[in-house]
Amino acid sequence: MSRSAAATVDLIAIDVRRCCGAGMCALIAPEVFDQDPESGTVVLLDSRPERYDLVRDAVVSCPSGAISLTEP
């Protein structure tokens, strides 16, 4: 998969202030999202991942709207 078209844009945005630490993103797309071990809030591991289907599932599953996605 070519990533060249997406190389200059931040495709996934997280808003830690909105995050309630439910962990759905880290459950569904663990290669893209993790949780801070102290606060449990979202940590973005990879802003240009391979598996967009999983990222979309994570966005849909986030209870507090802390993740948004701009498709390449």
């Binding site: 309630c20 630490g21 439910a22 962990g23 880290a26 459950l27 569904i28 663990p30 993790d34 949780q35 801070d36 071990p37 102290e38 606060s39 449990g40 809030t41 599932d57 849909v60 599953s61 209870p63 507090s64 709207g65």
Partner: protein
């Protein structure tokens, strides 16, 4: 044409079927007027998008004292009292945020996955005891109840020597045989007990949640005890009900049970589908408008209480194809079995791992598992806030 306000539909035509009125409402008027038992005229939401929208909207409050009970409880006020210290489930931001933040790091996916081995040991112990006893046995008493109880005990950090008392009080609190007075006494005993553990955890911390909370200067001892009780309440009956009712559902759908037995890797997905299909918070959840809010051309006025039907949302054909069919292979992503919005279940990742390990161990150890009574005779928790089976006699 004006429509008369309805009551919350609760009558199920069959144990795993939802009240038929919910599907009619969802199709014809997904936001409708509903009369609460105290006479309050509020609203009922039955569509997936409607339920999610309200639960994600900060103009709606979860403060206990603003809500109206959906089911009349003899001897109880129609409006619940304010949340006790630490019970952040009944608070709004910023109080809710301040308290919940102290626990979210304890319930991360990573931490909960680390419990997999220990949960497996506890499940193995229960299954060994069942095998040694021999069939028939009540799966609720022998398996579904003790697993969450022991896990919460260990997570909170109840000293080993005190576990008998803890489990006795917990059993009294959640038993249907307990009178209101017995349950109140058990509640007071447990709260006092957790409170009494706090100074010791502060002076000699161990690797558990109460120690973590006790080390935090920002929390009062009453808040810590309240948070401990909340974890106990929220994590005990719910997980136990899902374990028991999940097995009941699979026994009613033997073709789905056979799929998991043939491919144990399906169990993680089956857990999500069972959470969707069963939606054990079957009376839904409540919010109250903090200001006038217009939704879909309806004006929800300040102080009006809104009932969000989680089961109706999880069975919305606009979101889940053929929703009345249990299909352990489908994607149930986005289900609202754990709620939605900032109050979404804090312990859901613990529940997931307990359910995954629990079902997997049970089906592996007792491959011939089957009901010991006709399934029509299994007593259901109809009138309870958390749906489930009261008991489930099984053989193998």
């Amino acid at each position: 044409m004006p429509q008369h306000p309805i009551n919350l539909p609760t009558a199920r035509p069959a144990p795993l079927d939802l009240p038929v009125e919910l599907a009619d409402l969802r199709r014809d008027r997904p936001l409708t007027r509903m009369v609460f038992p105290d006479g309050h005229e509020g609203w009922l939401v039955t569509s997936y998008t409607g339920v999610r929208d309200v639960l994600a909207d900060p103009r709606f409050s979860r403060r206990s004292e603003l809500l109206h009970r959906q089911i009349a409880r003899p001897g109880k006020a129609t409006t619940p009292p304010p949340a006790p210290p630490g019970f952040f489930i009944g608070m709004d931001p910023p109080d809710h945020t301040r308290l919940r933040r102290h626990l979210t790091g304890q319930f991360t996916v990573r931490r909960m996955n680390q419990l997999q081995h220990r949960i497996g040991e506890i499940a193995d112990d229960c299954l060994t005891a069942m095998v040694e006893h021999g069939p028939p046995m009540d799966l609720v008493e022998a398996f579904a109840l003790p697993i969450p109880s022991l896990i919460i005990c260990e997570l909170l950090g109840v000293p080993y020597t005190e576990r008998e008392r803890f489990q006795r009080d917990t059993a009294a609190l959640f038993s249907l045989e307990s009178t209101k007075e017995e349950a109140a006494a058990a509640f007071a005993s447990l709260t006092g007990f957790i409170l009494s553990l706090v100074p010791g955890k502060r002076d000699n911390p161990t690797d558990d949640m109460l120690s973590g909370l006790a080390a935090n200067d920002a929390l009062t001892d009453d808040e810590i005890a309240g948070m401990g009780m909340l974890l106990l309440f929220a994590g005990h009956e719910t997980t136990a009900s899902m374990l028991g009712l999940g097995v009941y559902a699979l026994l009613r759908h033997p073709e789905q049970l056979a799929r998991i037995q043939a491919d144990p890797g399906l169990v993680d997905n089956a857990v999500e589908e069972l959470l969707r299909y069963l939606t054990i918070v079957h009376l839904g959840t409540l919010r109250t408008a903090l200001q006038d809010v217009e939704i879909d051309g309806h004006l929800i006025k300040k102080d009006e209480c809104v009932s969000l039907s989680l089961p109706a949302a999880n069975h919305d054909p606009a979101r889940f194809t053929d929703p009345e069919r249990l299909d352990v292979g489908r994607s149930a992503v986005g289900h609202v079995g754990f709620g939605h919005g900032i109050h979404q279940c804090l312990g859901q990742q613990l529940a997931r791992i307990v359910l995954r390990v629990g079902y997997a161990k049970l089906l592996a150890r007792l491959p011939g598992l089957r009901p010991a009574v006709p399934l029509e005779d299994v007593p259901m928790r109809d009138a309870m806030a958390i749906y489930g089976v009261h008991s489930l006699p099984v053989t193998w």
